[in-house]
Amino acid sequence: MSARPARWLLGGRHYSEVASLALAAPFLILAFVAFILPLGSLLHESLFLPAPTLAHYERAVTEPVYLRVMLRTLRIAASVTVLTLLLAWPLAWLMARSSGLKLAILVASVLLPLWTSVLVRTYAWMVLLQKNGVINQLLMGAGITSEPLRLLYTEGAVVLAMSHVLLPFMVLPIFSALRGIPDDYSRAAQMLGASEWATFREVIFPLSLPGVTSGCLMVFLLALGFFVTPALIGGPQQMMIATLVSQQVREMLDWSFAGALVGVLLAFVLLIAILFKRAVRLDRFVGSA
C-alpha cells in the first residue's frame, strides 16, 4: 500500500480541507462580488445615508402611496398562487396517471413555456390583450361586447399573464408528489370499500400536499418580486413593488429609498423561506409519526 489511502478515503469524502476550499474558491469569490457586496451596499445605502437612520423604511411602510403598492403586490401574488394551484392540480394529476407518448407531450407542454423567454410570453399576452387584439376580436365576434374592452393595464390582466408565466413552477412539484404515490394505495382504499371520491379526498389529495405546499411557496415568492410581466402588462397603473423599485432607481435616482423597499421585500421573502423550511420539516415529522 502506497501513500496511506486512508487519509484520502475517509468515509467516502476524499478531498482534504485545503483541496475542498480550493474547489469552492471560485464560487466564493464570485458570490462575494456579485451577491454579497451588491446586496450589502444597497442595504447599507438604505440604512446609513447620510447617518444611521430608519427614515427610508418608515417612509416605505407608512406613506399611503407606497402602502397601496405593497398591498397590491401581496394581493396579486396571492391571486396568482390560488389561480395557478387550481389550474396546476388537474394537469399534474393527469401527468401522474399518464405514460409513454402522452406523458411526454404533457411534460413538453409544461417545459416548453418554462424555458421560453419570459419576455416572449409577456409579449404574447400583450398582443392577445391589446385593444384590437385577438381576445377583443373574439369577444366582439361572439357578440359578448360591442366595443373593445380595455384589458391591458388592469389587475386582472396582470394576474392572468403572471399565472401563465408561473404555472410550471406549480405543476412540477405537485406532479412529483403525485408521481410518488404508489398505485397500491388507492387500490387498497377501494378494496376496503372507499368510493372514488373518498379515495381522492382521504388518500390522493392529502398525499399531494407536500407538492402543493412547495408549489404555492415557490409561486408566491416568485410573484412577490416579479418585474417584467407586471411592468409591461400592468404599466404604472398597476404598479407592484418591483416596478416601484425600478422607478425609484431609474427615474428618481433615490437609492436609499429603493434600498429600503428592497429591504422590506427581502424581509418578506426570507420570512416565508424560513417558514417554508419549517413547514417541510414539520411535514416530515408528521409523516414519520
Binding site: 456579485a34 398582443v127 418585474f227
Partner: protein, 276 residues
C-alpha cells in the same frame, strides 16, 4: 347492481372532468406563444390573427437591423461565457460539497440557493449600484458574472444529483489502485456525471440567454442584451418585428429541449452500459 353501475359512471364522470380541465390547461399553457407564430408572417404593420397574407418582411427587418443583431450576438457571447463559467465553477463546488470536507458547508449551501430566494429585482438593482462604480455595466465581464451567479444554483443542484446517483466506491477503487485525484476525476467521475453536467450547461445557457431583469439594469446605451432590446421595443412600440423575434426564440427553445433530451438519453445509455 344499479348502485354499482351508478358509482362506476360517476367515477368516470369525475375523472373525465379533471382530465378535460387538464387538457384545457395545456392549451392555456401553449396557446399564447403559438398564436404569435402565424401573426409574425403577416404582411401588415399591424399584427392580426389570422394574418391576411404571407410575408417574411419582419424577419428581414430583424436581420437587417444592426441594433437587433448586435444585441443577439452580445447575448450569445454572454451565454457562452456564462455556460462555461457556471459549469466549471458549479461542478467544482458540487465536488467540494459531496466529496470534500468544506468548513462552513451549511453557509456555503445557503449562499448557493441565495440567488434563487432573493428576488431578481433586488439583485438587479444591487448589482447596478455596485457594477456602475466598478465600471462593469455594459461589459461582458459584468454580464457574465451576473448571469453565472444566477445560473449556478441550477448547475450545482443538477451536478449534485448526478454525483449522489453513482456509487462512490468506483472512485475509491480508482484511488486505491493508484490513480491520483485528477486522473480519478477525469476517467471515473466525469464520465459518470457527464449527463448531469451537459444538462446543467444547457440550463446555464438558457438562463443567461433569457435573463431579462438583471440585464435590464446593467445594460447601457451601446451594449445591451437581446432581452433588454426586446423589453425596450415592447415598451415603446409593439412592432411585428418582435413577433418574428419571439417566434425564432420559441423555435430555438423547442430545438434546445429536444436536443438536450436526445443528448441526455444517449449519454445515459452510454453510462449505463459502462457501469453494467
Amino acid at each position: 347492481m344499479s348502485a354499482q353501475h351508478r358509482q362506476g359512471s360517476s367515477r368516470h364522470a369525475g375523472r373525465a372532468a379533471i382530465g378535460a380541465v387538464a387538457y384545457a390547461v395545456t392549451v392555456f399553457l401553449l396557446l399564447p406563444t403559438l398564436v404569435i407564430m402565424p401573426m409574425s408572417v403577416g404582411p401588415e404593420r399591424y399584427l392580426r390573427f389570422p394574418p391576411n397574407g404571407f410575408s417574411l418582411r419582419w424577419y428581414a427587418e430583424y436581420f437587417g437591423d444592426a441594433d437587433w443583431i448586435n444585441a443577439t450576438l452580445f447575448s450569445l457571447e454572454i451565454g457562452v461565457v456564462t455556460t462555461i463559467a457556471a459549469t466549471v465553477v458549479g461542478t467544482m463546488l458540487a465536488l467540494a460539497l459531496v466529496r470534500g470536507r468544506l468548513p462552513g458547508k451549511g453557509l456555503v449551501e445557503l449562499l448557493v440557493i441565495g440567488p434563487v430566494i432573493v428576488p431578481h429585482i433586488a439583485l438587479a438593482v444591487a448589482m447596478f449600484l455596485v457594477f456602475e462604480q466598478l465600471r462593469l455595466t455594459g461589459t461582458l465581464l459584468g454580464f457574465a458574472m451576473a448571469h453565472t451567479i444566477l445560473a449556478l444554483p441550477f448547475v450545482v443542484f443538477t451536478v449534485l444529483a448526478a454525483l449522489y446517483r453513482f456509487d462512490a466506491d468506483l472512485e475509491r477503487a480508482a484511488l486505491s489502485c493508484g490513480a491520483g485525484p485528477l486522473r480519478t476525476f477525469r476517467h471515473v467521475t466525469l464520465p459518470l456525471i457527464a449527463p448531469g453536467v451537459v444538462s446543467a450547461a444547457l440550463f446555464a445557457f438558457i438562463i443567461s440567454f433569457d435573463e431579462a431583469v438583471v440585464s435590464f439594469f446593467i445594460s447601457n446605451l451601446d451594449r445591451k442584451t437581446l432581452p433588454r432590446k426586446m423589453f425596450e421595443d415592447i415598451d415603446y412600440n409593439v412592432s411585428p418585428t418582435l413577433a418574428a423575434v419571439a417566434t425564432m426564440l420559441t423555435l430555438l427553445t423547442i430545438v434546445a429541449l429536444v436536443g438536450s433530451h436526445l443528448i441526455k438519453s444517449r449519454l445515459d445509455r452510454r453510462t449505463r452500459t459502462a457501469t453494467d
